[in-house]
């Protein structure tokens, strides 16, 4: 199990309740893969600095979790299938920590 942080950009064509429902679905996929949610934050609708799919706004959400690499790969695979998930980025924050 490793610590990961994932940011997702969801389509702004979704209503707020649909966007939060999709965010909840992402969390349930994560739980199915045996991930432990540490922290989450739904940023709401933000203006994009450049267009994505010809739109200039989108829903943002960030998940902080512990999971296995296979769990993350499966989560990413399922998100890639979903057309309402425009972008995602998974980073391992602790990997980049180094003593000064």
């Amino acid at each position: 199990m490793r610590h990961y942080e994932m940011m997702v950009i969801l389509s702004d064509l979704l209503e707020e309740e649909d966007a939060t429902a999709l965010f909840d679905r992402i969390k349930s996929i994560l739980a199915d893969q045996g991930g432990e949610l540490v922290d989450e934050s739904f940023w709401g609708k933000r203006k994009l600095t450049h267009e994505i799919h010809k739109r200039d706004h989108a829903w943002y959400g960030v998940l902080d979790f512990r999971a296995t690499s296979e769990g993350v790969a499966e989560l990413e695979r399922q998100l890639k299938i979903n057309d309402d998930v425009w972008r995602m980025k998974t980073v391992r924050p602790e990997l980049r920590v180094h003593t000064a």
Binding site: M7, I9, H50, R87, R96, A100
Partner: protein, 80 residues
């Protein structure tokens, strides 16, 4: 006999310490837009090390964080 010209570089060059090492920043978060914006130009380009004064390790992490933030449409690729 011609006088010897004084050397152009009379004082030793003193390198500025890395701003992130000074502040004790260990991990550069791509979501920390206030920090990242101070390391890009008005046009959105990543500032060179000679401008930022960052050490190689921090400049590399910084560039990575800026590129991640660009991909997630948090900071622009170009223009302003």
């Amino acid at each position: 006999m011609a006088k010897k010209k004084p050397s152009k570089r009379s004082k030793p060059v003193r390198t500025k310490p890395c701003p992130m090492c000074q502040q004790g920043i260990e991990y550069i978060d791509y979501k920390d837009l206030a920090l990242l914006k101070s390391f890009v130009t008005d046009r959105g380009r990543i500032k060179a090390r000679r401008q930022t004064g960052a050490c190689a390790q921090h400049q590399s992490k910084l560039a990575e964080a800026i590129k991640n933030a660009r991909e997630m449409a948090l900071i622009p690729y170009l223009g302003g």
